[in-house]
Symmetry: C2
């Protein structure tokens, strides 16, 4: 059994590789829900959906999120009422997911139950678990506007503003969702996917009880650095690390994960930093980590399991 | 100033006729919100939307509700999760309206404010007022299943099951929305549109304070019978009248409205019942009431104003 701590696009690609080399029934993904938000009345779970659509082979290949074959009538109609209101773009086809989720949650279903139903509809073989049932909201303090919601930062401002603080509102009252602690305790390996350490893996580790559960498995926990040659392949991980006082390098990542993970996989481009990673307290594995296609993703998955 | 008590399709067609013969700024429509419902997290107001789309010239001409140029990706996607869940069909284009409404309501806007914004976007010149800000839900008792929601009856069961009772849940706590009492008190004429007397006009008259306010204007209140030759042109008004112990005829309509309206306009097909309508206590006007096109709607509007 393999348990993967997952954010969005990077984690989805890693999981697609993993499912090529491990039976899907042996894989559990514990997915960040700190990006989740209620918009226009609909409950949106960006990371759960990105993982789902990617593993279903239905993700929009150009963006890495959203669905193929999308149309945009609902958002155009919404913009006709208020141009500023459709910043978070949901295609007509994709809208079915939050419509279903919101309806089920209103009926009293748990997010885990709804997530299982969504995964079943897309024929996913692995188990997808939200990190918690609690509503946790990643909040970001930016220079000019104070604290704003994560989607406002990430989508509305294209993550291009400087961040001075990040917090996960509601996290104190959160507990790991059903099955999460067991999936960590019983896994042969726990993998921290190449997701943003601050805003994707950060919320998962911040759920009370989860950090300790993962640290207890430290020797079997393998993290993959999302930073390659100092930069993130996608998204603001590199800037966020620097802005929040970390080093935007595999060494900075090692310092963040050293308490909970025994091993860090870094890209061959960073081979010269292997010694510094080990000095930060992690075993270092050097391997190609850029998942440009299914073969590369499967090869990276094999590295994390070996 | 003309104030119209309005349900959905029949009221929308009457209002379209009225706006041909009266300046739009002189018209207020007080619209039934008893059909409103929250579905998949979205606040749906069927009668407000039908009136809006019809007056904007954007209504789907085949159905009498919904928008032209519609696509159905979101509902297809929702049905892939649960085939039973998309009984209330919302096209992609139309979805923009409840997305906007639900978002604004969550921000604290009143339904009247949101309705005004929606009317402005569609360029409507008249004033559209929801009958109340309170959530009122028309509930229908059917033979086999007990009490069900109105949309379940109307859409889910195609209004084809026998009804033994109708009530408006939440009506006791409702008050007329801002401007409604004034629009009734100050109108030169109050028109009860040719809508379903039980489930469209019924909720409007049941809002505490509204029946008395309308009855106080009885001499200037004109109702149009939605029953022609014993039958409803559209919808279940005829069956509902019979099932609930009324007569499905212009005389049955007269008995329902006699307390609040001084005049009933009946179709020429019912000319022989004019005496019976007068015997029920209403002045009777016989005129063509089938609004098969704009000219017929305008002619009917003129009759109600004369």
């Amino acid at each position: 059994m393999i348990t993967v701590l997952a954010g969005g696009v990077g984690a989805a690609r890693y999981l697609a590789g993993l499912l090529q080399v491990v039976p899907p029934a042996d894989v559990t993904a514990v997915v960040n829900t700190g990006d989740d938000t209620t918009m226009h009345g609909l409950r949106i779970c960006p990371d759960l959906d990105t993982v789902t659509y990617t593993l279903a082979g239905a993700v929009n290949g150009e963006t890495g999120w959203g669905l193929t074959g999308e149309t945009w009538q609902a958002m155009e109609s919404l913009r006709a009422y208020d141009a500023g209101r459709a910043g978070f773009n949901l295609g007509d086809r994709e809208l079915g997911t939050p419509l279903f989720r919101t309806g089920r949650l209103a009926e009293g279903a748990s997010l885990a139950e709804v997530t299982e139903q969504i995964a079943a509809r897309w024929g996913l073989g692995l188990r997808l678990l939200p990190m918690t049932e609690a509503e946790v909201a990643t909040r970001v303090t930016v220079a000019d506007d104070g604290e704003i919601g994560f989607q406002d930062y990430f989508v509305g401002r294209h993550h291009s503003v400087a961040v001075s603080a990040v917090r996960f509102a509601g996290i104190e009252a959160a507990t790991p969702s059903a099955g999460v602690l067991d999936a960590i305790a019983s896994a042969a390996k726990v993998v921290i996917a190449p997701s943003n350490p601050i805003v994707s893996i950060g919320p998962v580790l911040a759920v009370p009880g989860l950090r300790a559960a993962i640290a207890a498995r430290r020797d079997d926990v393998v993290a993959i650095s999302p930073i390659i040659a100092g930069a993130a392949l996608k998204g603001p991980a590199d800037r966020l690390l620097t802005e929040l006082g970390h080093e935007s390098s595999v060494v900075g990542v090692a310092r963040i994960y050293a308490e909970v993970a025994g091993t860090l996989v870094i890209d061959t481009a960073d081979a010269d930093l292997a010694g510094a990673v080990e000095a930060a307290g992690m075993r270092c594995v050097v391997a190609p980590t850029i998942m440009s296609g299914p073969a590369e993703a499967a090869a990276l998955a094999k590295v994390t399991l070996s």
